[in-house]
């Protein structure tokens, strides 16, 4: 089924257990198809998502990264997503200074009821990344010896 | 009568060397005010004046700051190991200061002691070191206090001595050096007059005697108070050679690597039990000086210091070996005075 030589984007999605992960599950039970390029990594809360994880995804060769969790006010742990949002605002600026392509780093609020939003978000990100092409810059610098 | 070569010829030599797929390195102004030994992409990058001493040393071309020893892969329950092939690409180091060239001869001892380090030795065999005699020095230099000088030949395969006007006298000491320069020089009546170097700044023999007598000297705590415990001195030092072996990888596999380490890091001697025999900066500074001026000489007959001054130049708080030795002398003299009075 797969064609050799065609670019298949690798998307890493760090999602919170209580909202986005359940939203993804809802997409599944509703048989909403979304591209299988995404690798979903479940964490308890976006507040636990260390910015380092985004870097590690890029180190491993991810072509795009998504971080997604509960809408503000709906966090299972009350305020985890507020802390996460604040960190994201700052971390994006650092990524910009470093020259990392910000079109490949996405943040979203997707609730457990938003199976369709999950489907749409993953589909859009995958298509967008397919157009952008592989992200070789970070992988290249990781493979450089010294 | 001497053999002379021009800067242009040296640049061409570098270009030809690189053109053959070989590796060349020398002093480069990586920034307008920062000179470091760096790989040369072209002869034009080579800097042969305008600096006293580059901010780093040439040891990284023999003993890299990061080196893979072997790689491993998990295949189900099986583990596959692949030895890493040490680099054998011919290397040319052009423009090493005499204190840096000398350091390689000193490091040869420890890397061929209880284990013949093939990573080091293969690079060593593949490298030609052409040093650049000094036209000046600064307050941090003390090569003359450790038996070296601005035109010391130790460790060099050949040496360039500045004549001015983009010309250098070239003196070849080894077969490698001769092989490199044969046919590329002109005979000339000009002869280089190397400078005499800094006056003797510290009596190393006295220091060694002090180190032998007084291991528990309370002076160490005072001397090291401002030391921040970073690795700037050790990493820019031509002779420091401590390393740490770690595994880097993930569930699929990885590599065992050898990285530089510094005895000034607080965790350097941390045991798995949680005990740290060198838990204060005073103990760590003492160890550094003992290693350089007593332990290594006792073992290998060479002082583990070439007086290049990089430790002081790069130290955030102006410590470094020379200042430490001078402080040590000051304390010894003060104690002597107190005892006598």
């Amino acid at each position: 089924m797969s064609e050799v030589g065609v670019f298949k984007p690798k998307i890493i999605a760090y999602v919170c257990n209580w909202c986005t992960y359940l939203g993804a599950d809802l997409a599944g039970t509703n048989r909403l198809e979304y591209p299988s390029n995404v690798r979903i990594i479940r964490l308890p809360c976006t507040g636990r998502i260390d910015f380092n994880l985004i870097i590690k995804a890029l180190e491993s060769g991810a072509d795009a990264v998504l971080v997604s969790g509960c809408h503000p006010g709906d966090c299972h742990y009350t305020s985890g997503n507020y802390h996460a949002r604040r960190r994201w605002i700052l971390f994006r600026e650092l990524l910009e200074t470093l020259g990392i392509e910000m079109e490949r780093v996405h943040f979203a609020w997707i609730s457990a009821a938003e199976g369709r939003k999950f489907q749409q978000t993953i589909t859009e990100i995958t298509e967008h990344t397919r157009k952008l092409g592989p992200y070789t810059a970070y992988k290249k610098l990781c493979e450089a010896g010294v | 009568m001497s053999e002379v070569i021009t800067r242009k010829s040296l640049q061409d030599m570098v270009d030809a060397w690189i053109g053959q797929g070989r590796f060349a390195a020398g002093p480069v102004f990586v920034k307008p005010d920062v000179c470091m030994y760096a790989p040369l992409a072209s002869g034009e990058q080579l800097a042969l004046d305008g600096f006293i001493h580059p901010a780093n040393s040439i040891k990284e071309f023999f003993f890299p700051r990061h080196e893979k020893i072997y790689t491993y892969r998990f295949k189900g329950h099986r583990l596959e190991l692949d030895d890493s092939e040490p680099a054998k690409t011919p290397q040319l180091i052009l423009g090493a200061r005499p204190c840096d060239a000398a350091s390689i001869a000193i490091l040869d001892r420890v890397f061929n002691w209880d284990y013949k380090d093939k990573f080091y030795n293969l690079r060593r065999e593949a490298t030609t070191v052409v040093s650049l005699g000094c036209a000046g020095y600064d307050n941090n230099c003390f090569c003359t206090s450790v038996g070296l000088g601005p035109a010391a030949e130790k460790g060099s395969d050949a040496m360039l001595l500045p004549l001015g006007d983009g010309e250098f006298e070239i003196r070849c000491f080894t077969e490698k050096g001769k092989a490199l320069f044969t046919g590329k020089t002109q005979t000339s009546s000009k002869e280089a007059k190397p400078i005499s170097g800094p006056e003797n700044r510290v009596d190393v023999e006295l220091i060694v005697a002090q180190l032998e007598k007084n291991f528990e000297d309370p002076a160490w705590r005072e001397i090291a108070l401002r030391c921040l415990g970073c690795g700037a001195c050790a990493y820019t030092c031509p002779t420091c050679h401590c390393f740490d072996i770690v595994d880097e990888g993930n569930a699929a596999g990885g590599a065992r690597v050898k990285n530089w380490d510094s005895c000034q890091f607080p965790m350097f001697t941390m045991h798995a039990s949680g005990h740290n025999p060198r838990s204060t900066q005073g103990q760590r500074q003492r160890q550094r000086i003992q290693h350089k001026f007593r332990i290594y000489p006792e073992k290998f007959g060479e002082t583990l210091c070439t007086g290049c001054g990089n430790c002081t130049r790069n130290c955030p708080v102006e410590l470094g070996v020379l200042n430490t030795l001078l402080s040590l002398r000051e304390y010894a003299l003060r104690n002597l005075n107190e005892v006598q009075s």
Partner: protein, 279 residues
């Protein structure tokens, strides 16, 4: 002014108010200045103050070997004092137990360090006493000009720049040790069960380290510039730290170490934080 400084310090030691003065010393007038720790009243003559006093002495207040010396007095420039404010906010020092001697400063370095040209804290604001007068006036803007110019490069150019710069990093950690706000007993870079940051001085390890350090200083870095000054490889670390300092100011109207009453930005949040970039 130097006599006044020495007399003040002598008095503090004589009266037993402090056990150690953390200040600057110098071997000769044209040599470099460096941190010194004076514990004996008769040695206050070693203390100096001039435009070579680069070091941010606040970094010593959280170090075990210095704390063992006893109750400290510290000499600070305005930029150093900002670090004291942050340390106090983070409960790392007890300002009540610390005697702060402020020195009015016209700038360090000859030519003046870049940070001094945009300085707005020439006179320490919370010290027990301030010595000297600063003739240079506080500059209100220009803090982020260098960063702004850098960001005019395209992302690809910026990445090439950092790959070039960080290839020279040797992981000596001078930047970390000199920083007053890098005081963790066990830095994340030294963690090894499991390892979070590669200790190797490869591009991967260097990027990981500098990213972590810059981000752990978000909203805490006081722009004292010491990290960039001490880097043996001449890497412009300031660009990374200024990025986050500017983000803190633009998004949250916050500057580290200026107002001790303001809540630090990391560890806090607002319901009104902007989220136009969130899908």
């Amino acid at each position: 002014m130097i006599d006044q400084l020495r007399q003040t310090c002598r008095r503090l030691l004589d009266e037993g108010k402090v056990n150690v003065i953390i200040g600057y010393g110098q071997n000769s007038a044209d040599g470099p200045a460096y941190p010194i720790f004076v514990t004996k009243p008769e040695e206050v003559g070693k203390l100096v103050w001039n435009d070579k006093c680069y070091a941010n002495l606040a970094t010593y207040l959280t170090r075990k070997d210095i704390k063992a010396l006893g109750k400290p007095a510290i000499i600070v420039k305005g930029c150093d004092e900002r670090a004291l404010v942050v340390l106090q906010q983070e409960s790392q020092i007890d300002r009540e137990a610390l005697y702060v001697i402020g020195v009015a400063c016209d700038g360090v370095g000859n030519p003046r360090a870049a940070k001094c040209l945009v300085c707005d804290v020439h006179r320490p604001r919370f010290a027990a006493e301030v010595l000297g007068e600063a003739s240079a006036s506080d500059v209100g803007n220009g803090r982020y000009t260098e960063l702004g110019e850098f960001l005019e490069k395209s992302p690809a150019e910026r990445m090439v720049y950092w790959m070039e710069e960080l290839s020279r990093c040797v992981k000596c950690y001078a930047c970390r040790e000199v920083c007053p706000l890098c005081y963790c007993n066990r830095c994340i870079a030294d963690k090894n069960r499991p390892t979070i940051i590669d200790t190797s001085a490869t591009l991967k390890g260097n990027f990981a380290w500098q990213i972590v350090r810059a981000f752990h200083l978000a909203g805490r870095c006081v722009s004292c510039g010491e990290c960039a000054r001490v880097c043996p490889a001449g890497i412009d670390l300031g660009l990374l730290n200024l990025t986050l300092a500017r983000a803190a100011e633009e998004h949250f109207q916050y500057r580290a170490g200026i107002d001790p009453e303001k809540t630090p930005i990391i560890g806090a949040y607002s319901l009104e934080d902007k989220e136009e970039f969130i899908l």
